[in-house]
Every structure is written in structure tokens, then in C-alpha cells.
């Protein structure tokens, strides 16, 4: 019998508390990771996933200090005693915020930096840089400044920098949080490829459950710092109690089959599929699906559009044309999605709505009046903007000051200001955190502070740029539920997102952008099923849509619940 290889990672009774907190963030963790495994690290926000990722590199506790108990050995090195720069030869780390990881002035130097520190020869550095950039599809951008890249490209660059080190272990903390669906698929495909070709071990903390299910062999689930599960990934995903208890999201295909099983349409003794391929194969065991095509919701009839773009073109000073003759109308009271691949022009379009950019040609109108007639600050009282990265939007010393800041330049009376402040804090469940420093909060809470600050001005239009990025399922749902409440109160909502699977319950209309053009503007159902067009934009149809289309040519279901309904109705009929 061949000897069992020594574990690459070994934790024994590891607990850790940050210096500023009394409660431990990691509690009594004990597990091993064998060489060549792909391990998913799952858990709700605040479960300790990022802290564990940092601990594997010795950053916790060597950099952050705090109280560390137990033993953590990586590649034979004790993370408590081995310097971080030495551990970096065994562990490649990719953090959630790619922009924060850029330390040099060109893409190729970014990848080369760690290799230079490891004193590799220049020729080897060149070879590894070229290979890593090719692997992530950035070879054509080698000479660019990293800050010139899009968020998605920066994330791929951070991954390339880790890959180039060729460490035995790569730790990825939400590596695809800012990527479009196609790029997300590519990153996970790359993980699988490197694992197969180089035997690299991966630990991936991610909420991208569809890709996790198709990639990881094993899942570790953290709950409040404790190990809630350690099992093969499919077993963890299929656990009927674990995911609901921790408010985690299953892959859509698993969710759909779980609901089919609950309706007696899938054998109770047969496990639920976890990947799309398994789900597609499972269709043959289901009764025939029925056509499912509810009428689209009527457009809100509230007069003239609140926002309109007329032949808007925008060309940046470097000559890049980001928008090409966009014509668009958003009726008052609409709830729409703006989707498209990274670099499609979505951010440029948003900046036109906010008057941060002016069209090179054409005009942007609010209630028929050109935005050029407004100052940015004036417009902010009508259009609220919740940006993607909350950390760039926090500049006050307490949550209360942050939320109240917007109110100080209004004509409201002190009582009205106070009432608005309380309403905004209550809407985002932040009353108990009002005295906290915004940067002391979790990312999810920081995002809620920014939303509360925007809500305090009570704007008519609310634009959310990737509001669910970095949020767990419960956090994402809380934010989207809030948008639904605001929509119900008459607000116009525009959401930019890559997380299409979250949106069927909320959005009414979808605008698809690609290469600076508006490729489609349609009701949500029609847009989700415009699969050929979506494929051109690196936006993939959701698993529910793929299953629906495979089950019946006229099945236009867009969520697991609708997919199940397309079968359940037949069951219900005599």
C-alpha cells in the first residue's frame, strides 16, 4: 500500500481573535488538506473565511497580532514562526479586492514582483510571467498600468501573480466577485486545469456556488468561526439542513431538483444533481415539461420617462469610445437591470446618469431636462448612487455621521433631518451600530452604511452598482428586498449586476450592453432567454434558464421555482 502523502496544510485546534475583539473569529479548527485537493471554503459573511485565508499565509497572526491558539502548518512550515515572505513561496494568496493588491506600475511587473523577490533568474521570470498572463488572458495588456485595467481584469491579474509563483498551495478569497459570468467560468476552469496539470492545491472561498460545485472536490463550511462541515462538496451542497440553516445558496440546478423532489417529481432515494451536466442528464427522468410563458409585466404608466439617453456617444480622451449612440428611456417607477460583460460600457453609462461624465455627443435627460443643466450635487437629491466598493465611499468617523452627512446640505429642519437619519438607519438595520467606525464593520455592513447614506436624501431614482458583490445569500437578499420595497414605494431602480440568478424575483426589465452599444432592452423573461445574444456578451444564461430550455422549447422559466412549476402544473392537472 503506497504511503499516504503528508498533508500540505494541517490545522490542530486553531483559534484566533483579533486584538480589538473579545470573541474569537476562528474556533477550534482542526483539519488537513492533502496535496492536489481543490477545497471550497464556504460560509456566511463573518464566518471567518477571510481570516482563515490570511492565517494560511501567516498574515494572521504575524501582521495583525491578536491571540492565536493551536498549530497551523503549511508545507511543513509553522505559520507562527516562519516569516510571511518565506511562507509566500509555499502559498499564493489572492484577496477579494484586486485593486488593493497592485503594487507595481505595469501588468508584467505586477506578475514578476514576487518572482523577483524570490530571486529567480530574469529568463525564468520572463517565462513565468508570459505563461501566467497567457493563462488568464492578459498577455496583450502586459505593458499597461494595472490601474488602467477593469475590475475583472485586475482580478485576473492578481490571480496571474499568484499562479506565476507556482506555489504548492493557492488561496483564493472570493476570486471572481467582480467578474462577469464568462470570466468567472474561465477562472474556475483555470483552477481545474492547473490542478490537473501541475497538481496545485487550491483553497477557494467563494459564493459562486455553480462553479464551486463543478470544481471543488471537498468543502469546508465555517459557521461563526467553527467548522460546521467537512465533506465532499456534493455531499455538503445536498445536505438538506446545512445550507438553509446558514443562509447559503445552493447552485440553481440543485435547488431546482430539491424542489422537484419536494413535489414528488424526483425520486426521494436519488441524490440531487449538483452540476448543470448532472441536471441536464436528470431531465430524462422527469415527466415532460409544459410550456411556461407568462405574459410580461406591463410597463409602468407614469407619464414621460424619468431618465432618457438620446444618441449618447462617449469617447474618452485616449480615443476609446465607450458608448456608441445609445438611445434609452427609463420610465418612472421602473425596476431594471443593466447587464453586460466587464468593459461593456456599463460604468460609463452610469456616470452619465450621475453627470460625472458628459456625452461627447447626444444628451442625457431627467424628466425631459438635460442633465447638463444640473450640478452633480443637485442631481444627487434626485438620483441616488450606491457604488460597488463601499470602502471608497466612507469618510466619516461614525456610522451616524456617515449617514447624516448627506443631510447637512439640505433645506430640511433639524427635526426632519433627525427623522430622515433614523429612517435610513432603521431601513438598513444599523441603529445599534450608529457609534461604530465604518471601517470597523464587515464588508456587508459597510455596504449597508453607504446605502443608508444615499437613502437619507430620499431620491426618486436609485442606481445600485453590483450591490450583491461580496455579500452572502442572506446579505444579498436583504439588499434586494430593500430595493423591492423602495420600488413598491414608487422609486425607480436601476441595478448593475452579474448575479442574474438573484434577480428574477425583483427585476422587470433588462438592458444588455456590449461593446458600448445597447444590444437588448426587453422584459426580464425575454432577456434571460435571449441566450444567443447573451453568449455574445459573456453573460451566461442561468442554470434555471438552461434547464428550462432543455426541458421544453416553450419553457421560459427563469428561476428554479418556475422551472419546477412547469412540471408541477402537469402533476396538479387531472
Amino acid at each position: 500500500m503506497p504511503p499516504t502523502p503528508a498533508p500540505l496544510v494541517s490545522l490542530r485546534d486553531v483559534s484566533y481573535a483579533y486584538p480589538s475583539s473579545t470573541a474569537p473569529v476562528l474556533r477550534d479548527l482542526s483539519f488537513d488538506i492533502a496535496p492536489g485537493e481543490i477545497v471550497a471554503l464556504l460560509g456566511p459573511s463573518g464566518a471567518g473565511k477571510t481570516t482563515l485565508c490570511l492565517a494560511l499565509m501567516g498574515i494572521v497572526p504575524q501582521f495583525y497580532r491578536g491571540r492565536f491558539f493551536g498549530e497551523l502548518v503549511v508545507d511543513g512550515q509553522d505559520v507562527l514562526t516562519e516569516p510571511i515572505h518565506a511562507l509566500s513561496r509555499s502559498v499564493g494568496l489572492v484577496l477579494q479586492d484586486p485593486a488593493a493588491q497592485l503594487v507595481t506600475a505595469s501588468v508584467e511587473n505586477e506578475v514578476a514582483f514576487a518572482l523577483e523577490n524570490a530571486a529567480l533568474t530574469a529568463s525564468e521570470i520572463r517565462e513565468r510571467v508570459a505563461a501566467a498572463l497567457t493563462a488568464v488572458g492578459l498577455e496583450a495588456l502586459a505593458k499597461k498600468h494595472p490601474h488602467e485595467l477593469s475590475g475583472g481584469q485586475q482580478q485576473r491579474l492578481a490571480l496571474a501573480a499568484a499562479l506565476a509563483q507556482q506555489p504548492p498551495l493557492i488561496v483564493l478569497d472570493e476570486p471572481t466577485s467582480q467578474l462577469d459570468p464568462a470570466s468567472t467560468e474561465e477562472v474556475f476552469a483555470l483552477i481545474r486545469r492547473l490542478n490537473a496539470s501541475h497538481g496545485t492545491t487550491f483553497l477557494v472561498a467563494s459564493h459562486a456556488m455553480e462553479e464551486v460545485a463543478a470544481t471543488a472536490t471537498r468543502a469546508l463550511v465555517l459557521d461563526a468561526g467553527r467548522l460546521a462541515a467537512d465533506a465532499p462538496v456534493a455531499e455538503v451542497i445536498r445536505d438538506p439542513a446545512l445550507f438553509p440553516r446558514l443562509h447559503l445558496r445552493r447552485p440553481e440546478v440543485t435547488q431546482a431538483y430539491a424542489e422537484l423532489a419536494a413535489h414528488g417529481l424526483w425520486p426521494a432515494d436519488q441524490s440531487w444533481p449538483c452540476t448543470l451536466a448532472e441536471g441536464m442528464a436528470g431531465l430524462t427522468q422527469l415527466p415532460p415539461a409544459q410550456p411556461f410563458q407568462p405574459a410580461p409585466p406591463a410597463a409602468p404608466d407614469r407619464g414621460s420617462p424619468i431618465l432618457a439617453l438620446r444618441d449618447v456617444t462617449h469617447t474618452y480622451p485616449d480615443g476609446t469610445t465607450a458608448l456608441r449612440k445609445i438611445n434609452l428611456e427609463i420610465p418612472r417607477g421602473e425596476y431594471c437591470l443593466l447587464i453586460g460583460e466587464n468593459g461593456a460600457g456599463k460604468s460609463t453609462l452610469l456616470q452619465h446618469f450621475l453627470n460625472l461624465l458628459r456625452p461627447t455627443a447626444g444628451d442625457v435627460l431627467i424628466d425631459g431636462v438635460s442633465l447638463s443643466d444640473f450640478k452633480v450635487a443637485e442631481l444627487a437629491r434626485r438620483i441616488g448612487y450606491v457604488p460597488q466598493n463601499p470602502d471608497q465611499q466612507l469618510f466619516n468617523a461614525t456610522v451616524e455621521d456617515e449617514v447624516a452627512f448627506s443631510l447637512q446640505n439640505t433645506d430640511l429642519t433639524p427635526d426632519e433631518k433627525s427623522a430622515r437619519l433614523e429612517q435610513a438607519l432603521a431601513a438598513m438595520n444599523l441603529e445599534h451600530l450608529r457609534a461604530a467606525h465604518p471601517f470597523s464593520l464587515s464588508k456587508g455592513d459597510r455596504a449597508r452604511v453607504v446605502i443608508a447614506a444615499v437613502l437619507s436624501l430620499d431620491p426618486e431614482v436609485l442606481i445600485f452598482d453590483e450591490p450583491t458583490t461580496g455579500q452572502d445569500a442572506a446579505g444579498a437578499r436583504a439588499i434586494l428586498d430593500l430595493t423591492r420595497d423602495l420600488h413598491a414605494k414608487g422609486r425607480t431602480i436601476v441595478i448593475v449586476t452579474h448575479h442574474l440568478y438573484l434577480m428574477p424575483e425583483y427585476a422587470r426589465r433588462v438592458m444588455v450592453m456590449g461593446e458600448g452599444q445597447l444590444l437588448l432592452d426587453a422584459p426580464v423573461r425575454e432577456a434571460f432567454h435571449a441566450t444567443e445574444l447573451l453568449a455574445r456578451t459573456a453573460v451566461r444564461p442561468t442554470q434555471a434558464v438552461a434547464l428550462a430550455r432543455a426541458s421544453h422549447p416553450q419553457n421560459r422559466a427563469i428561476s428554479p421555482a418556475e422551472f419546477v412549476a412547469s412540471f408541477a402544473r402537469e402533476e396538479a392537472s387531472p
Binding site: P83, S88, Y385, F395
Partner: protein
Amino acid sequence: MSAPTWTTATRQTAFSALDFRAKLAVFFTATFAAVIWDNPWLNLGLAAGIGGGCLAVGIPGAYLRLIAKVMTPFFALLLITHGFFNVQHVQRLLDGRDLTALFTVPESIWVFGGATFSREGALFGLNAIAKSLTFLLLVPLCVFTTDPNHLVVSLVRLKLPYKLAFVLTSTLRFFPLIFEEIQAVIRTQRLRGFAAEDLSPVQRLRVYAKVAVPVILGALHKAQQTEVVLQAKGFSGSSHRTYLYEAKLSSLDYGVIALTASALILAIVIAPTLGQFTG
């Protein structure tokens, strides 16, 4: 919402392709000449040459305009001070010669009444302005045309400890970071309905004072993040490392260094004659 970066020249030229050590030779020679020369026309010519060089290598016009905007009051003050008040020093340089009055402030003007603005004083002021301009324009000419990574390697090749070279270039990168932090706050304030232009200067100051500490904390938070990232990338400050860019001096670099060495000798040779201030 573009992120500010290290300011760079807008185009690649033969000068950009030079090794930083060759550019340092240009920097040193031009600075040395500006220091030892007191002839305003020679110094103005040198400053104009450096300015022309900046334009030729693609230093952004916005940056040059910024220099002009910031320095104009200072230069005006230099001209006025030397033109009106630097009489004894200028006379000493001219062997006690009387200065040529260009105009005299009417006696009725408070404090300055009766003061005479001399041609020689003004020329000496221009000389000081030209010296400052030469130095101010040499920095972007040499630094903005150099890839920061190449800058580090060139400094290391000049026997500067790697840690110091890295800190030096990181400091240059830190300014855009602070600028980015301030810009982000201002943009966010505007997006939250805060119109600074509608407030009085006192109200504006009060608001800015309130957010100054969090802004600095935000920058420190980013700096701490950067430290974590550096360590995670194996950075220890040790000079035992290699470089992607090998920084080998080309024949063009050697040519430029030889040329600047000759120019340095020429500058020293003409300093006692052509380089003198003659009014």
C-alpha cells in the same frame, strides 16, 4: 472614475528609452549649469531648452500648466523683490555700477512710494526664475519618462540599497494615492448632495476639517493593506533579489552620458565668462 496613477509621458521617445542613469547625468549637468551660471539669458535659454524637451517627450500639458499655475505667484514675487529691493547685491555683482531705473512708484502710494524698479534687478530676478524653472522641469523630464520599475533597478545599479530605492519610488506612488483618496471623498460628497461651491469658505473649511482625519485614516488603512500585500508577495526589503528589467546601459546611454559629461565641462569653462551676470 479613473484611478490616478503615476504621471507618465504621453508618448514613447528615444529619451524615454534611455536608462535612468543617463537621464540622471542630464539632470545633474543641467542642474549644475543652472547653479553656477548667473547669466539670465543663458539660464532662460537652458530653462526653455528643458521646457522644449518636456514638450518633445510628451510630458502632459496639464502637468506643465499646473507648474505654471502654482509657480506664477512665486515667480512674480521673485521678480518684484529683485526688481525693487535687491539693489546692493546686484550692484556688487556689477562692480558698484548704478542700476538703470525702469520706473518709480509714485510717492503717494503707501509703503512702496518712491521705490525704483531697476532693469538689472529685474534681470537678476529672471535669472532666479530660470534657475528654479530648470530644476522644476528637469524632474518631470527625467522621472515621468521612466517606468517606475526601471527607476528602482537603475537606482539599485547606482548602489542605492534596494529598500531605499523601493521606498523612494513608493513615496512617489503614495502621492497619487492620497490624491485619489481626496478625489474619492470629494466625488462622494458631491454624489451625496454636498455642493461645496454653495458654502462660504468658513463652512467649507469646517466640513473639510471634519473629514480630514477619516481621510488620513483611510489612506493609512490602504497603506496597511499594501504592506500585507507586499509581504504576501515575498517582499522583505532584502537586496538579495533579481529583476525582470535588467537595466543594461546601451550605446545610446553611454553616448548621452559622454555628451553630458562634455556639456558639464563646457558649462564650467564658460561659467567665469559667458556665465557671469552682466546686467
